[in-house]
């Protein structure tokens, strides 16, 4: 099992859309957005089975999500985390004076984290902010 580097982007998915309307406190939100979609070739480099928990780390933070095989590929070298608190734990907040954070195009490292839990959405944000 190795560490891989991928270029991270975040964005909408229809499952994420349904989940946010269903309630972000629910497990369905984590299932929809607490994931990283990886190309099969990157899975191979990672040396892990699909649906394994992984730790994704950038210069700005670190988060545990479930690695799944991409549904909209191939896109070797690119990782996709749907928009939401998991992605936003690690994307680049710098707006470079445009007002817009850099949600897409963040270099990240992905490591297998089989025994680390994936937090629910609200829980994750509260923990990172130090709020009960």
């Amino acid at each position: 099992m190795a560490t891989i580097n991928v270029n991270l982007i975040s964005g909408r998915s229809i499952q994420q859309g349904v989940a946010i309307e269903g309630g972000k406190e629910k497990p369905a939100y984590r299932t929809a957005a607490g994931i990283i979609e990886l190309d099969p070739s990157d899975f191979k480099k990672l040396g892990a089975w699909k649906n394994t928990n992984v730790r994704v780390t950038s210069d700005y933070g670190s988060v545990v999500v479930k690695a799944i095989e991409t549904t909209q590929g191939p896109h070797p070298g690119l990782g996709f985390i749907p928009m939401g608190p998991w992605a936003n734990a690690i994307i680049n907040p710098d707006t470079y004076s445009t007002g817009m954070p850099t949600f897409k195009g963040v270099p990240v490292k992905v490591d297998v984290a089989m025994n680390e839990p994936i937090l629910l959405g609200i829980e994750l944000v509260q923990k990172l902010c130090g709020v009960k």
Binding site: N7, I9, G11, R12, S13, I14, G17, V18, I20, E21, G22, G23, K24, E25, Y60, G61, T70, T71, Q72, G73, P74, H75, L78, F80, M83, G84, P85, N88, A89, I91, N92, P93, T95, Y96, S97, T98, G99, M100, P101, T102, F103, K104, G105, G121, I122, E123, L124, V125, Q126, L128, C129, G130, V131, K132
Partner: protein, 438 residues
């Protein structure tokens, strides 16, 4: 018995479908079925019926529990917070109606707040580009009736605007497009083979973050000038093929989204996309349109525009409106630690802001007005649930092409719940008292 309400407007995304049908109980209190909406819209309507909805305001206790309070107490907390703050921020506005947005503006003006909407993390950079270069555009019906070249650049409507292609952009048989999708050529530019790209006649799998180069290359190709062998991962032959396809149409449209607004280049990417569109108008007819996310972010921009003169990131702290993205925009204000009170409504910054910005409002006085439980409510001091706009209360909204549609009320909100507008009016009136103004 039941009754069916037609011509219902779905309050989820900028597509603002207005052909939804909702079946409600005879007494108007229960929403039973939804027809024609996409799966996300359907979920929004149906979830309003969920039995575990929070129906009263609640204050976040230090031990993490929540204490229910009355709407009056919630009004008092909100008004005191906004009136006392030196630099309050009123953020969101994109999932509520224009009437509520207007009352919010009154409060912001009296309290000298900063106000901003979700364009801050969505099409804000498009607005900056439009302010540099303009925007040749049209309404969605023009696409339906005339477009024979449809480009989706950095957006994935199959996932984010699910009925867009069937209602407006690819499938409809319009006046001059009676063969429906057969009348159109579809081009998708995206670093992934998205579900939208799978439908395209041409998919340019651009190298992520290199859209600016590719757009620029298209402008060169229009003029038939020299190109390097590969630009942004796309071979020059393909670039020329797409350039010719665009020029040979009689009415083209570029729809664009976060792929270009949020990746590096940001507003410059959009500037270049608009320049491509302008160039094409030398050869044929072309328009460009941002795929707005929230169903009324456009409305918030319009209301800010006609009342304050700027579409987002508005600073009223000096008693008149100022605007300077990067300076007056929400993320930058938060990260510089300038905000001392956070009022969120009609959006979820807790989930959709970078965590370093969320941390900045998690420990200051804060109010979140939202029917749902969200990461924002999770870190706010006061959570005020309200009726779902577009479901339990009507009100004007603006579609992604700036067309205004008046959302309908289809079902009663839970007993005793206020709407955004009603809550804001109470806050405004209390703020006026506290500030001693007319």
């Amino acid at each position: 018995m039941t009754k069916t309400i037609t011509d219902v407007i779905c309050p989820f995304c900028g597509t603002l479908c207005d052909d939804v049908e909702v079946v409600v109980s005879d007494d108007g209190k229960q929403l039973l079925e939804v027809y024609n909406a996409c799966v996300i819209g359907t979920e929004k309507f149906l979830h309003s019926q969920s039995k575990d909805r929070v129906t009263r305001p609640r204050m976040h206790q230090p031990d993490g529990s929540w204490k229910e309070v009355s709407y009056d107490e919630a009004v008092e907390y909100s008004a005191q917070m906004l009136a006392k703050a030196k630099k309050p921020l009123m953020f969101g506005w994109s999932s509520t109606n224009c009437e509520a947005q207007s009352v919010g503006n009154e409060i912001a003006e009296i309290t000298r707040a900063c106000c901003d909407n979700t364009a801050a993390t969505c099409h804000g950079t498009s607005l900056i580009a439009i302010q540099d270069i303009g925007l040749p555009s049209c309404t969605l019906g023009e696409i339906k009736n005339r477009a024979d070249r449809v480009i989706f650049w950095g957006c994935n409507p199959a996932h984010a605007h699910p009925r867009h292609m069937s209602r407006y952009s690819i499938f409809p048989r319009g006046f001059f497009t009676s063969k429906g999708q057969m009348s159109r050529k579809m081009i998708v530019v995206d670093p992934r083979v998205t579900d939208t790209a799978k439908m395209a006649d041409v998919h340019l799998q651009v190298e992520q973050g290199k859209d600016y180069e590719l757009l620029d290359a298209l402008r060169v190709a229009f003029k038939g000038e020299w190109l390097p062998d590969v630009v942004a991962g796309i071979p020059k032959e393909k670039i020329r093929e797409v350039a010719d396809m665009m020029k040979s149409g009689r009415f083209g449209i570029i729809f664009f989204g976060m792929g270009v607004t949020q990746s590096l280049g940001k507003n410059h990417n959009i500037d270049e996309a608009i320049a491509v569109t302008k160039d094409l108008n030398e050869y044929t007819k072309f328009s460009i349109m941002p795929m707005r996310g929230h169903y009324n972010v456009t409305g918030s921009g319009e209301v800010f525009g006609w009342q304050f003169g700027f579409p987002y990131s508005v600073d009223l702290t000096r008693g008149f409106a100022r605007y300077n993205p990067g300076d007056t925009s929400t993320i930058d204000l938060l990260i510089r630690g300038e905000i001392d009170a956070m009022f969120t409504i009609g959006s979820d910054p807790g989930a959709h802001f970078p965590i370093s910005a969320v941390k900045q409002f998690a420990h200051i006085p804060s109010v979140c007005v939202d029917p749902h439980l969200t990461p924002t409510t999770g870190v706010s001091k006061l959570h005020v649930p309200v009726a779902f706009n577009g479901v339990e209360v009507g009100g004007n909204c603006y579609r992604m092409d700036n067309v205004p549609i008046d959302c309908r009320k289809v079902v009663e909100p839970p007993e005793g719940m206020l709407t955004d507008e009603q809550f804001l009016i109470k806050v405004r009136d209390r703020v006026r008292q506290l500030k001693g103004v007319a």
